[in-house]
């Protein structure tokens, strides 16, 4: 859970992509990391684990994006994937009411398992097919608000709304990580001493870290 704040300057975040098959999870992330859509000449071997390095307000962020298998029969494996993640992007297809229902199930599950520590983004993809829309904007947005998630509209095909989605998510995850660090900073003296209990030998370096681990945050 404490993936953020390594070294005080670089944040490492894990983001899971959840959603039914064929809603465009993979296209979304390929568009974001490689700026490609349906390209037959994709040089990457795979599009299921992608990383992106960002610099947000002077802080370095390493984003690791974990795609998950969306087929219904793999649904039960979700908890193994989203364990320890800082953010989740829940994708549905605006032309497919059913995929929106799936998102609702995911939200319930995530909140139950991970509480409020995880930043949720609900994403309506394929807005280029707006004429076939089956999930209304109002319904989706009010639902997102009711569960404490942000709602975005994207199109991987037209490259719309994707940058904003990830940038917003990173900012929110950074806020969460910073809040967590502050909390940890208060209780650091306790946890540090309990950890040191396991330690055996240490003569010279003993003095340095006690102050260091608080200030590093």
């Amino acid at each position: 859970m404490a993936a953020g704040g390594m070294g005080g300057k670089t944040y490492s975040f894990k983001v899971v992509l959840l959603g039914e098959g064929c809603v465009g999870k993979t296209s979304l992330v390929l568009r974001y990391c490689e700026n490609k859509f349906n390209d037959k000449h994709i040089t990457t071997l795979q599009a299921s684990f992608l990383t992106k390095k960002l610099n947000i307000t002077g802080k370095r962020v390493n984003l690791a994006i974990w795609d998950t298998a969306g087929q219904e029969r793999f649904h039960a494996l979700g908890p193994i994937y989203y364990r320890d993640s800082n953010g989740a992007i829940l994708v549905y297809d605006v032309t497919d009411e059913d995929s929106f229902q799936k998102v609702k199930n995911w939200v319930k599950e995530l909140r139950k398992m991970l509480g409020n520590e995880i930043c949720l983004c609900i994403v309506g993809n394929k807005i280029d097919l707006d004429k076939d829309r089956h999930v209304s904007v109002e319904e989706a947005e009010s639902y997102a608000e009711s569960v404490g998630a942000k709602h975005y509209h994207t199109s991987a095909k037209l490259n719309k709304g994707i940058e904003e989605l990830f940038l917003d998510l990173c900012k929110r995850m950074m806020e969460t990580a910073q809040a967590e660090e502050r909390l940890k900073g208060n209780g650091a003296s306790q946890s540090a001493s309990s950890r040191r209990g396991v330690q055996i030998v240490d003569d010279e370096l003993q003095a340095t870290p006690a102050g260091g681990c608080c200030s590093s945050g």
Binding site: A3, A64, F74, A76
Partner: protein
Amino acid sequence: MMSQRRGIHLDQSELLCKKGCGYYGNTAWQGLCSKCWREEYQREKQQIQEDWALAERLQREEEEAYASRHQRAQSQPTTTFNKFEERKTKEKSSKVNTVTKFFTPSTKTPPKKDSTPLDAQSSPSPSSSATRHSSGDSDHATREFIDFLKPLKSGKEIFKQCRAFTESMVYKRDLGADELSECVQDFYQSLSERLHTQFKGSTDHVESIMDEVEKYMMTRLYKEVFCPETTDDEKKDLAIQKRVRALHWVTIEMLCVPVDEEIPEVSDSVVKAITDVIEMDSKHVPKEKLACITRCSKHIFNAIKVSKKEAASADDFLPTLIYIVLKANPPRLQSNIQYITRFCNPSRLMTGEDGYYFTNLCCAVAFIEKLDGQSLNMSSEEFELYMSGQAPPLWPQVTGASSCSPGSTALSQVHQRLDLLTGLGERQERVMVKARQLESDLIDWTDEVDQKVQSVLENFPPQTQNPAAGTDDGTTSAASSAIDSENVENELLPPPLQPQVFAG
């Protein structure tokens, strides 16, 4: 002690021999001049040789004693024997190491007693070659670790801590696996925090040190903490192995794997992936085990990419990985997963690429454990039939459905072809019968024709010969005109030649 340490931490500014003999020293000789270095080196080498000789002798004695006690113990039930073995190992490994002397070219001879357990520490197995090998492994790891740490400012500190911690773990072997894991994880965390403060945020550097720390510690602890007796890892290993074996009939089609094994490159990648996931068990360090999983995954991605002509998504990857695990049935799968989870550097598992593939492997195992008919798009009755081994032998049913395990697909194909052959045979026979009938009909027919001709010849020879010979002109022309009467063009033709009768 201080002077010894300076012998390792190379100080370029001091050009004179560290021994203070007045000659210039050389960094290649750890700052000594050639003469002093030779002396030092000889002494060290000799000392090491002595230690090894002593260690060997003591081990021999130990083994002899062991063997004689073994014979006595043979009559006793194995459980007590195991306990005795354990106690013995514990006693031996309590005080481990000659390592100090690799690290500091010490002038004082270490107490001989110290050097023996290094060799004998892990010798519950009576085979001395195996013992030599395993202790050689950890010895090798120690040396590599020291080499890695040498250029670092606080290398010795790091080493001291890791060694002390590793040794302390031996006392904790009665703790549960989770507690052991917590100890190790706490150690990783506090050490990496300390390194972070020391190297001021150079994350990569800290990570590379932590990798080496993990490698050193886990090589030495592997025997103690891999699949420990306090857990039911072994039972789970056997359970998953049995499960995979029972699922031998699952096909690519059932799992919807987007891989076409007909393409040579794809089947090649599949084989490589299987080899890699099996190889995982042979590695001792969590990081190396993870590297095997990563290699396996890359081969899978390649197989998918070649088959589908596009980059693989998670939707494609997971089913393929499941298929690979089912085909490979990797040894001690659960133990390996548990070992990695417990003792791997957590940052790698949480956000790294290795962590992603590892998580997928965990998912694959979880899926295989829970697999039912629904997840293979078949009814639970059908699933039960397959699981109980009844379905594949049922020929008619199987030939109807195109999907069954590779073995029975082939069998059903053979069956189909046999059917076809039998059908062909029957048809051929029918053809033969008909042909023979036709033959005899033909013979009969020619006979009949012959007969008829004969009978006609017999009956009518005078009538055919005689009227032509016996009739006069008038009747002949009447007969010919009667024959040609229907011919419209008759009149255009020249008059027929009239036979000249020279009646004698």
